[in-house]
């Protein structure tokens, strides 16, 4: 692929009825509502423009795009003038040329002239248009009043704002308003003094700017430009690939110069992101070439020895020998593997295949265990399939949006921007969250209802909403009658109608006024298309699965499944959580969510793989660790997951890992888990391999290799090396062959292959004979399981309770600039925004404890103790404290307990009883762990080869 800019039609597409007109003698037909500019661009007539770009509504300020229209006076701007039937337009006349040149002459009278040394040289619309209008001389001269003395703003680590290069086209301001929805930028002053300002004329870093990059992308000059372009020059080729951060699945053009990545530019045709991005995907990719990358395999006899760099051959041979030795000594089921939601579908498929075919057991699990496993269980039980019901675009049809246990503006920022656009258009918002997340009140958005419930009371809250809907007669009876299991509905309706489940009855429990709950329930049931979006604040509870089912119940009762603008939509944490689950990463099921006990499914795989599969479910991660402590589980292959930092009750994880004889970690960096590993296999980044990711809307998108892996192998190749060392004889030469195997063995993927992905850009499963174009929305006429299944969700309080020793409830989450355990984002300039995890505490609770803002505090639970600094805020309610878990020093999971979801063992991260006291230093655990980590990371460099 060579470097060409994406075509810019100037104004957004329209969708009206066909209108015919003539432009420069050429007849054409376009949808009504199309601008003359766009219509012209569609027939390859590019009218000069500067303030127009097709990602933004037309603005009409630059006045370069003037045209002549027969029968109309003057020279209307083609960007703001829609086509009309029979219109005759001329885009090039002497008069127009003169006017455009006059406008350009004004621009250049107030612009630097150092084009050849400008960072946007060759990629500058002002330069292009000056050329297009044929400007040769600026008769005003260059010594009039100007803006050339403005100071550059280099506060943002990723881009620079040079006001001297600014032409005040407002594209950045409009991008911040329309695309991102943060409204951080404005035009300050008026007339000739107009200038772009961030927030109250602050520098970009200290302003409300979230560094999404939309302004940089929109800028037609180098006024806003990526620092990487300033440093490296403009790119010479571009490869479209998929972001490896969150579950939104943005697609980007990786713009390259040779082997070097110059910038990531969100792809306009990306179906998930529509040309938008966030600070992580857009800018935080520097970790890929960070010095901390481990590129050579390493082995050691025991974890107190330093690492020894070895050849791939030696490392792989060691792994194979150790695993076989352990199995011979302790039994077939004594080893297992963990697949990664960070890796591709093909890679996770291979890891679970390695376990099932090679290890001969089902001891495979994935990080979805600790995030969305309850989604799988809950939606499979109620609807019949373990996935969200809609595509992201569906939100543009929602009238009511219910966000529960999710913080989209931080966790899923690009989708949040799309959601905010709909909210600004007038959709109503209900937020159920203990914290006052940003969505509750942000520019031009205010939640109709925020229900700040006590952590751990989701089921009681949702059941109370169901109570209102049923007892106030708001159920969509016709829908339920036709689409759902009637007996189950009757049982459920009777259950929720019980007065003990009314909002009034649970008011004390949840801490939310009953009237608010009633009002929110009524709005959800009667406000039109109602969509539910949820995240880990739903799943990471002792009743995570019940909460998912309670959500599904609400949606079915109100007829909100199977239509646009509605549905039940899990916001997936990681880029490929959906895919990892689809690929059979759970110990009880094969790809496509088919239980391992099903002989027919097993037979399909056995025939294809030439192996006999264990019909019994394998161990889940926490059970693997239990078994390790018991001495029955001795070896593990962990690909791309840092369970020591990310899984709950760190001490339990450490004890389990320490009890194993062969811990193999494959990762980009020496992560925390690697401190307990015996073999380290270097991993490759998403930039270094081909494959596919599946995002939260079941969208399968290609990941394309843009550079050679530093470590020499893509991760799927490493898994194949291990498999073959164990005698499995795999022969994949490209990930597309793995996808072919997945398609062959998985009915919901039957129609998926790389050719189709190349052609269509992306597809949403199920894709097969029944759905040859894939499935943007599920359950349209009937549920996958047949009739929708209402499930009674009794509120069972968690056993994690506050008391005199631990009077506060800790809940956890993440922040925009950082990503999960921070392995990547901590190795980028994103730390400028979030250098450490802080404990949010309500002023009232802080006052009681003598804690001031910024003080070090000790955070203690019955599981452990850590220290971090306090941030006093009323975002959290009294009695609730909150922290992120992005930094290993914080060790937030030393605090979390081993309580978990009843159905799936998804950890109860969101509820831990804690005490907070002033402190003056790290806890004993933090100190001893720091020593251990330091010792464990020693590397003995290999002798240089002769």
């Amino acid at each position: 692929m060579t470097f060409t800019r994406e075509k810019d039609f100037g104004t957004p597409a329209a969708s009206g009825e066909a209108v015919s007109l003539t432009i420069d003698g050429q007849e054409l037909t376009v949808p009504a509502g199309t601008s003359i500019m766009r219509a012209a661009a569609m027939v390859e007539t590019d009218i000069p423009k500067l303030c127009a770009t097709d990602s933004l509504e037309s603005f009409g300020s630059c006045r370069l795009c003037l045209v002549e229209i027969e029968g109309r006076n003057g020279y209307p701007a083609s960007c703001t003038t829609p086509v009309a039937p029979g219109m005759v337009v001329r885009t090039e006349t002497d008069k127009l040329r003169k006017l455009r040149r006059g406008v350009m002459e004004l621009y250049i009278s107030d612009h630097p002239l150092d084009c050849l040394t400008c960072s946007a040289n060759g990629d500058c619309e002002l330069q292009d248009q000056a050329g297009a209008v044929g400007l040769r001389d600026v008769r005003f001269g260059y010594e009039g009043e100007n803006h050339l003395e403005g100071c550059k703003d280099e506060s943002n680590p990723y881009f620079t704002f040079d006001p001297a290069k600014c032409i005040v086209c407002s594209r950045c301001v409009r991008a911040c308003d329309e695309t991102q929805g943060t409204l951080a930028l404005t035009v300050d002053g008026r007339g000739f003094a107009s200038k772009i300002a961030a927030s109250q004329d602050e520098d970009f870093l200290s302003s409300e700017c979230v560094s999404c990059g939309a302004c940089v992308q929109a800028c037609p000059t180098s006024a806003l430009i990526e620092n990487t372009v300033i440093e490296k020059g403009t790119p010479d080729r571009a490869v479209v690939t998929t972001c490896a951060y969150c579950g939104v699945g943005c697609t980007f053009r990786a713009e390259m110069r040779g082997e070097e990545l110059v910038r990531m530019v969100p792809w306009k045709d990306g179906k998930a992101n529509h040309g938008h991005s966030c600070v992580k995907g857009r800018f935080a990719w520097g970790y890929a070439r960070h010095n901390d990358r481990i590129v050579n395999p390493m082995v050691r006899g025991s974890v107190d020895e330093p690492w020894r760099e070895v050849s791939w051959e030696e490392a792989i041979g060691h792994v194979a020998r150790e695993f076989r030795r352990i199995q011979n000594a302790y039994g077939t089921r004594s080893i297992g593997g963990i697949t990664s939601s960070r890796c591709t579908n093909e890679e996770t498929f291979l890891v679970q295949k390695l376990v099932r075919q090679g290890f001969g057991n089902n001891n495979v699990d994935t990080c979805a265990r600790v995030c969305h496993s309850p989604t799988g269980y809950g939606l499979k039980t109620t609807f019949g399939t373990s996935a969200g019901t809609q595509d992201f675009d569906s939100v543009q049809h929602a009238d009511v949006i219910l966000v529960i246990g999710a913080n989209p503006t931080d966790g899923h920022p690009v989708f949040a921007s799309h959601m905010k656009r709909r909210l600004r258009q007038g959709a109503k918002l209900i937020v159920i969250d203990p914290r006052r997340i940003d969505l509750v009140r942000s520019p031009h958005i205010e939640a109709s209802h925020h229900l700040p419930l006590r952590p751990g009371t989701n089921v009681a809250m949702l059941t109370a909403m169901a109570h209102v809907i049923v007892t106030e007669g708001l159920v969509d009876e016709a829908y339920v009658h036709e689409r759902c299991d009637r007996d189950a509905y009757a049982e459920w309706a009777e259950f929720v109608s019980d007065p003990s489940r009314s909002p009034e009855a649970i008011e004390e429990l949840t801490g939310v006024p009953a009237q608010e709950v009633r009002a929110a329930a009524r709005l959800y049931a009667t406000g039109g298309n109602a969509a539910i979006y949820y995240g880990l604040g739903v799943t990471e509870h002792s009743q995570g699965s019940s909460t998912v089912m309670a959500i599904a119940n609400l949606a079915m009762a109100t007829g909100n499944v199977g239509k646009e603008g509605a549905g039940v939509n899990p916001l997936r944490g990681q880029n490929n959580v959906q895919g990892a689950c689809d690929m059979g990463s759970f110990p009880h099921e094969l790809s496509g969510y088919r239980h391992i006990s099903d002989a027919e499914t097993r037979a399909l795989f056995e025939k294809d793989w030439g192996a006999t599969l264990d019909p019994e479910p394998g161990l889940r991660i926490p059970n693997m660790l239990d078994a390790a402590t018991d001495g029955t589980f001795k070896g593990i292959f962990i690909q791309g997951e840092d369970i020591l930092q990310s899984d709950p009750n760190t001490r339990h994880v450490a004890a389990g890992l320490a009890a194993m004889e062969c811990v193999v970690v494959q990762d980009l960096f020496l992560n925390e888990t690697a401190n307990y590993a015996h073999v380290f296999l270097p991993g490759s980044t998403f930039l270094e391999k081909d494959g596919t990711f599946t995002n939260a809307e079941r969208r399968i998108q290609l990941v394309r290799k843009v550079m050679e892996p530093l470590n020499g192998y893509a991760d799927w190749e490493v898994v194949q090396l291990v498999a073959n060392a164990m005698g499995l004889g795999w022969g994949y030469t490209h990930p597309s062959q793995i996808m072919d195997e997945i398609a062959r063995l998985t009915p919901t993927f039957a129609g998926v292959n790389y050719d189709a992905l190349e052609q269509r850009g992306s597809v949403q499963w199920p894709m097969n004979e029944a759905a040859p174009d894939g499935t943007p929305m599920m359950h349209i006429d009937h549920f996958v399981r047949g009739k929708g299944m209402f499930v009674v969700t009794d509120y069972v309080p968690t056993d994690e309770r506050t008391g005199p020793r631990f009077p506060l409830l800790l809940t956890t989450g993440r922040i925009l600039s950082q990503y999960n355990v921070g392995a990547q984002t901590r190795r980028t300039a994103n730390v400028d925004w979030h250098a450490e995890d802080r404990l949010e505490i309500h002023p009232h609770d802080a006052e009681n404890r003598g804690v001031r803002d910024g003080d070090w505090v000790s955070l203690r639970s019955r599981a452990g103790e850590t220290t971090l600094r306090a941030k006093i805020t009323d975002r959290v309610a009294p009695g609730v404290v909150y922290t992120t878990f992005h930094h290993p020093d914080t060790q937030a999971n030393v605090i979390t307990t081993d309580f978990s979801d009843w159905a799936t063992n998804c950890p109860e991260y969101k509820v831990t009883a804690v005490q907070v006291t002033p402190s003056n230093g790290p806890s004993d655990w933090q100190k001893s762990y720091r020593e251990l980590a330091e010792a464990s990371r020693r590397i003995e460099t290999a002798e240089p080869a002769e």
Binding site: S58, F59, G60, S61, C62, R63, L66, G74, Y75, A77, C79, T80, T81, P82, K95, K98, L99, G102, V103, L106, Y107, S109, D110, L113, R136, D137, V138, R139, F140, G141, Y142, E143, G144, E145, I167, V168, S170, T186, V187, G189, R190, G191, F192, A193, S194
Partner: protein
Amino acid sequence: MTRVFISKDMASVALGADAVAQAFAKAGCEVVRTGSHGLFAIEPLVEVETSEGRVAYGPVGPDDVAAVLDGSHGTRIGAIADHPFFVRQQRFTFARCGVTDPLSLSDYGVHGGWKGLEAATALSAQDVVDAVKASGLRGRGGAGFPTGIKWQTVLDTPADEKFIVCNADEGDSGTFADRMLMEGDPYCLIEGMAIAGHAVGAGRGYIYIRSEYPFAIEAMREAIARSASRIAPFTLEVRVGAGAYVCGEETALLDSIEGKRGQVRAKPPLPAIEGLWGKPTVINNVLSLAAVPFILAEGAQSYADVGFGRSRGTMPIQIAGNVRNGGLYEVGFGVTLGELVNGIGGGTASGRPVRAVQVGGPLGAYFPPSMFHLPFDYEAFAQAGGLIGHAGITVFDDSVDMAHMARFAMEFCAVESCGKCTPCRIGSTRGVELIDRIVAKAPRAAGALETMPQIRNASRAARTHDEEVELLRDLCDTMKHGSLCALGGFTPYPVLSALDHFPEDFGGGDALREAAE
């Protein structure tokens, strides 16, 4: 007890009307504060109620009470309608101004108020719109767009909510008709807006008044409060501007009401289809809306019978500047410019010869006396390279420097530009710089940059005077045809008219005119 009528119009107050009113009150008179009749040379004006009707005296000072009350005062006018300034006026819109207590609902009713609204509510919305169309009323804010057609668009656009917005951001120099009407007859505007609401199906109206008009703001607010039940269910609210001239542009005005930075919106969409908060909106000037009650009360034909060519009805013309009889003169279209300046206005106040008049505010063209035959008519003025605008006429005597006035136009545009579109944002500043050079007879020499060997295409020779003037004309062309709104688009009118009619002030001769395209 003797009743006397004294204006509380801002202009009258500025001339001492309050002190006069106090003096009459002290003397035991019942003082009724009215609006102004509109001739400032006779303010403060006192009208004494007698058995023969009101007898006017003016100007009157606070020491003149006794002389006025005994009829001996030397400025006795008699019946105001017989004064030469008023005798030929056709007061359709300003009929009550100066006559009634502006806030008295009974005065308003007695003097023909609400007749238009009553007539309108008896008609269908379409019939009202048709009446306005038939009257030939055109937008009095300056653009002259037929009001009835605008209303028809709003009526025809289906929406759950529509608005009537009155543009009372009267910012043009030498204009004061909006202010006088709001201070002197606020119910007339309210009635007009209520009729518009009925005609297009709007339930709510906003009156956007510039902050420099505190009396008008107070009068409108009080009048809205008092007449609320009369116009219900239609409701009205006053919004106060924040000093930006550009907010008098209708779309910037909408942004300002919405609480945004006042910036011009591109059209389409027309405000009539997507206006305030994206809803169909009638935006009309005060004078357009205030003309409507007469049209409905007296019939469209009565209005249309007056006028000239396609300019129907009357225009409240504001005569200001260096002129003897400055004030408001409402008359049917067609009166000549010369009649207005020399006849009605009485020539300059300074007594020196008239050299130029600017019609239509700071962005209107300058006319020399040789063009005084022009009839006051939208089309005639447009054809002569000018505009009527809001019908403000500013008179200058022969001491005026027209190059300075041209520079002022560019400077005004630079100061008031919202900064959105390039021709206005940069062009006005370049225009000031350029005119400065022209006036100083100092054409630009090649700049330091232009003479560097790295720059190849720029001329290294100094520019000539003619080249600088040609550049000014080109700049005016770019601004006129390229600007987003009338601010940048009309700034060339005063500049080019000054250049065309008074080339000698720019250091050139008649030759310059020939150089023009």
